[in-house]
Amino acid sequence: MKLTNEFEVAVPIERTWETLLDVPRVARALPGATIEPEGEGGAWRGTMKVRLGPVTTEYAGTARIQDADEDDRVASYRVEGRELRGQGSAAATITTRLAGADGATRVVVETDMQVTGRQAQLGRGLMEQLAGAILDDFAARLEQELRGVAAPADAGGGALDVGAAVRGPLIERAALVGVGVLAGLALGRLVWRR
C-alpha cells in the first residue's frame, strides 16, 4: 500500500534536513506514538496506538533511518511493529524528499506500508483511508515540529482516534467492519472456550 503526502514549511532546507535525521523528533510527530529517548545501534524502540472506533490496536517496535542521501536530500526510514495484544504486524518504509526554495522547504512523504493480521481484514479501501488520516496528521505535526512548535499533547490517552479523522461516507462502513471484527472475535472466543 503506497501513499503520498506533501506539505511546505517556512524553514530553510538545511534545518529541515537536520530535523528529519533526528529520529526521536520525527517519531514524536507520529500521532499516538511514544518513543524511548535513547536509541540502540541506530534503532529506537517505541509504541504506537491506532484507534478505529471501538477497536484500539497498539503496536510495539522499532524505527530507524534506513538511508540518507545528502546530495539529493532524500531520507528514508524503516518502521516495524508487532501488535502488543494480537498476532498482527505493521511495517513501513517512509521516504521524505526535500526541495528548497526562498527559505522554505517542500516535503514530499512517500509511505510504503504492509499490514498483516486482524487490521488487514478491514479491507484495502478503509486501510488506505486510515493510513492516509494518520499520515495527514503526521505531516501536520511534523510541520509544527519543524517550525519549532512542540507537538500538542494527545487527548484520549495518546491514541489517535482515526474514526474521527475519517468521518463521512466511510464511517458507516468502518462501524460495520468494526462490529464485524468484534463479533468475529467474540464468536471465535466462544468457540475456543469450548
Binding site: 540502540e40 545501534g41 534506513q66 538511508d67 540518507a68 545528502e70 546530495d71 532524500v74 528514508s76 521516504t95
Partner: protein
C-alpha cells in the same frame, strides 16, 4: 552447545568501544558468524565487546556521490535501500545471496567484512566496487583498499585494537552495469564460487568469490574487457585463477553468466 564463559561489555560510543579493545577481546556485531563459532567453542574470547548499541555506526549515507556505509549497517537495511539500489545496484544484487532473511536482519556489513570469510558475498562486491575500509583505534585512523584489508582466510588487516568503522564506496563510472552470480549447493548455503562484475565503457571490474583465501580481482581479465575484448576470453582468464579443474570450470561459467547479465 554453549560458549565458554566470557566477560561482556556493551559500549554506546566508538570511543568507549575502542577503550575496551585488546588482545583478548573480540568485537560482536550481528553475531551471525561469531556466535556459532563461540558456541562450538572454536573461539573463546575473554571479553566480548558488543557494538550493537553504538548508534554512530549504523548508517547509510550518500555525500558528494560517495556511499558511506557505517560498519553496523545491517544487511537487510542495505538490501532495502533504494538509494543503494539506484547508485550501487551490485550491492543489492550481492546481498540477496547472503544466507537467509533472518540472518540478513541481524548480520552487518562491517561484521561480514571483518570476519573475512572468502565465500562471503559483500566483501567480493565491495572489492569489485573499489571500496575503502576505514579502521580506527585509540592511536588514530587509517584507510585501506580491499586488496590490503582482506589478508587471508578469516584474517583481515584489522589489529586487535582496531575497529572497522566505515566502508566508503565511490560512485560507479557513467553507464556502468553490474551483476553478481554465485553457486551454492542450496540457496542460503555458503557459496562455492561466484563473481561480481562492473562493466562500463573503458572500465571493467571482476571480483571472484571462493577462488582464493580473499576476494580476488581478475586484473588480466579486466584489462581484456576494458580494451573491448571478448567476454568469453575474459571469463576464461578469470576462471584460470581458481585452483583445480572443476573450480576453474565453475568460476569461468559464473563469470560468463555475470558478464552476460551486465551486457558485456
Amino acid at each position: 552447545m554453549k560458549p565458554a564463559p566470557f566477560h561482556y561489555e556493551a559500549p554506546r560510543t566508538v570511543a568507549a568501544a575502542l577503550a575496551l579493545l585488546g588482545a583478548d577481546a573480540k568485537i560482536l556485531a550481528g553475531g551471525q558468524s561469531l556466535v556459532p563459532i563461540m558456541n562450538f567453542r572454536l573461539a573463546r574470547p575473554a571479553t566480548l565487546v558488543d557494538v550493537n548499541r553504538v548508534d554512530e555506526l549504523a548508517y547509510l549515507r550518500k555525500r558528494d556521490g560517495v556511499l558511506h556505509i557505517g560498519a553496523m549497517a545491517r544487511h537487510a537495511t542495505l538490501e532495502r535501500s533504494e538509494m543503494v539500489a539506484r547508485g550501487w545496484p551490485l550491492l543489492r544484487q550481492a546481498v540477496r545471496h547472503v544466507a537467509h532473511h533472518q540472518i540478513r536482519t541481524r548480520g552487518t556489513v562491517g561484521g561480514s567484512c571483518a570476519h573475512g570469510d572468502p565465500t562471503a558475498e559483500l566483501p567480493v562486491a565491495l572489492a569489485a566496487l573499489d571500496a575503502r575500509f576505514h579502521l580506527r583505534s585509540r592511536a588514530g585512523e587509517r584507510s585501506l583498499g580491499a586488496a590490503e584489508f582482506f589478508v587471508s582466510h578469516l584474517t583481515t588487516a584489522l589489529r586487535d585494537d582496531e575497529l572497522l568503522v566505515e566502508i566508503e564506496v565511490p560512485p560507479l563510472p557513467a553507464a556502468a552495469r553490474t551483476a553478481f552470480a554465485e553457486h551454492a549447493r542450496t540457496h542460503g548455503d555458503w557459496a562455492i564460487a561466484g563473481a561480481a562484475v562492473v562493466v562500463a565503457p573503458g572500465h571493467a571490474a571482476i571480483a571472484l568469490l571462493g577462488a582464493a583465501p580473499t576476494p580476488l580481482r581478475a586484473s588480466e581479465a579486466e584489462a581484456v574487457l576494458a580494451a573491448g575484448g571478448d567476454a568469453a576470453e575474459a571469463a576464461r582468464l578469470a576462471g584460470a585463477l581458481a585452483d583445480g579443474e572443476w573450480r576453474t570450470a565453475l568460476t569461468t561459467a559464473l563469470v560468463r553468466r555475470a558478464l552476460a547479465e551486465a551486457g558485456a
